[in-house]
Symmetry: C2
Subunit: 370 residues, 2 copies
């Protein structure tokens, strides 16, 4: 059988705790489904800074480039707040995204039936929600040059005497490739793509709209395409999120809109993500999988964290990196079963209370359901 | 008594209809409260393009500079979709903002008790919501240079051969002045400001955070200040919007976050905004008032539009331009009374239906309540 290589980067805060449950799941698939994983572990974020003085070492970067898929927990924490920009935990994550060229970030926002009442939105607005945001992840204002803070002393009108600059820069090729990802994914779902930008204000948004339209007309005319300004998109996500199937948008809008969409579901501890790049020599895409939630330093080390987002990120790895669709389905079904059985970590307890399970107990229940 | 000069720019779509009701309200204050308004009318947006070939003529621009306050209805419509970027209706609005230097855009998101059930969020999450977003309106990526779409033919990796560029550029002075507006406003409300940016990714966000902190420490230490990344801000607005009092943020984040916040209230047809600049010779700030909603071309000309957002924008003019606090309070109270009496335009009808009033009838009811 094929061997699948994985690099596990648990990172900071609750990252190591939730990743421990993923390791159990990996072991289960090896023991019971005859899969063969080569698993290695390394550091990222604050943990890497503590060990090496940088949020991602060159050695770790090289390893990430060599494996089939990276599984990442979470990065960041108050301990690192005072660090210089270039040393902050986030830079480790951003370096992985950029150097692995993971241009398509898939962020599903799914509302689990058993958890629909957790949303701050009305049940009838979010029940059954299942949308996918495809966020461009390697370009735009996150990486554009020039950037920085400069002195502006010669400008007498500028009290404070400094200027801060970032550049939104997209090439047509960068837009086309992520648009293709969105159209491909839409074909396997509801066959509808909504592209979001601010073409009424930004020229880069005009280019975005034109290139997405070009790809649509020339390569995916069978998929339904619509366009929306990103501010209206934010409104529509709040008003009626089920109108969407696949949303494709740039790095910065995708950051904001996918977080809003995630919160609509009411259960951030449930949401996985995949970041995909170009196919490697073995045909598998460069890939990194991580939960949407952060490192949650306030609950770290207390066995309170919900491992489901991280486990579902591994399900995405089974699907997108290894084509193990049956295994991915089985893992997702096991999560649904455990939830409908009423098993809940602390974050999923309603105001009426109840008995939350620990991080490890949730992992065990999911494995039992497998 | 003082004379107050107003320039009315009804604009496109439902703009003229809702503005007609504001004119009635102005007349009422002249007839019954001894106020003296000098009112002139002009064109903006598509209407101006149709008449002059530009979305704002130089003559109109000069008039806007000369009055105490501009009242704007709405701009845009499908008829103008194919126009060149520089001729689009939006450019008229953006020119007004920029040349009048209206740097502080006040966008209250208030949930009216009588309308709390219209929100897609649960009543207990939004009832009593009353937050104020202060959006920087004259700088950032909306106006930064360089910008444009260029050919990138020498780049063999760029399929499509073009590149789109926009520049986020903030000076410390631009950040400080809008921060001061936010702190001043907070002192009259809940005394709390939350500043939002992406300082973890953008240097302009670092400068934003540093300058807001500087203003706080040196000038407003009595106000409570917190900072939040804008993606988390979007989440928190959906999760628990009542945690906020005043939010201060940049032009682009403000565009997206204020639209999300507006939609939380469930009644976009209710929300006003004010855009304020520096004080003029007479002590009044440069000012433009407009509803948050757009031109709604689908319902234009059908007497269906809700004039309340535009009427409440005039209430903001009474408050912020003319210091007529009692009149502003009276007008807002009249709107609340009419709503609690059950008077509803079509946009405020629940699924159970009922008898909506027309745009003009709503205006008349509000005047009767005055
Ligand atoms: C941690 C941070 C740099 C990151 C981002 O802004 O992309 C995060 O918010 C995300 O969405 O993955
Ligand atoms: C019409 C458009 C240019 C404008 C903006 O993006 O600022 C609008 O969305 C707003 O928020 O007032």
């Amino acid at each position: 059988t094929d061997r699948y290589s994985l690099l596990i980067l648990p990172g900071d805060g609750i990252g190591p705790e939730v990743m421990a449950e993923v390791v159990k799941v990996i072991d289960w698939f090896q023991a019971h489904r005859g899969m063969a994983f080569d698993v290695s572990h390394d550091l990222v974020g604050g943990a890497a800074y503590d060990a090496h003085g940088a949020p991602l070492s060159d050695a770790t970067m090289a390893r990430a480039q060599a494996v089939d898929a990276v599984l990442l927990g979470a990065v960041g924490g108050p301990k690192y707040d005072a660090l210089d920009f270039s040393l902050k935990p986030e830079r480790g994550l951003l370096r992985l995204r950029k150097e692995m060229d993971l241009f398509a970030n898939l962020r599903p926002a799914q509302c689990f039936e058993a958890l629909a009442d957790f949303s701050s939105l009305k049940r009838e607005i979010v029940a059954g929600l299942d949308l996918l945001i495809v966020r461009e992840l390697t370009s735009g204002i996150y990486f554009g040059e020039p950037r920085g803070i400069h002195s502006d002393d010669n400008n007498p009108d500028n009290e404070g005497g400094r200027v801060g600059i970032n550049t939104q820069r997209y090439t047509s090729g960068e837009i086309r490739r992520v648009a293709r990802s969105a159209f491909e994914l839409a074909r396997k779902r509801g066959n509808r793509v909504c592209s979001m930008e601010k073409a009424n204000v930004m020229e880069s948004g005009i280019l975005w709209r034109e290139e997405v339209t070009w790809v649509h007309q020339n390569e995916y005319p069978d998929v339904e395409l619509s366009h929306m300004y990103a501010d209206n998109g934010a409104m529509q996500l709040v008003r009626n999120p089920r109108q969407f199937d696949v949303i494709v948008t740039d790095n910065l809008f995708g950051d904001i809109l996918s977080d809003a969409a995630a919160m609509l579901t009411g259960s951030l501890g449930m949401l996985p993500s995949a970041s995909l790049g170009a196919p490697m020599a073995n045909g598998r895409p460069k890939a990194l999988y991580e939960p949407v939630h952060g490192s949650a330093p306030d609950i770290a080390g207390k066995a309170l964290a919900n491992p489901i987002a991280c486990i579902l990120s591994f399900a995405m790895a089974l699907r997108y990196s290894f084509g193990e669709l049956a295994a991915a389905d089985a893992l997702e079904a096991a999560v649904e079963r455990v939830l409908s059985d009423g098993v809940r970590t602390a974050d999923l307890m309603g105001p009426e209370g109840g008995h939350p399970v620990s991080t490890a107990e949730m992992g065990d229940k999911i494995i039992a359901a497998l």
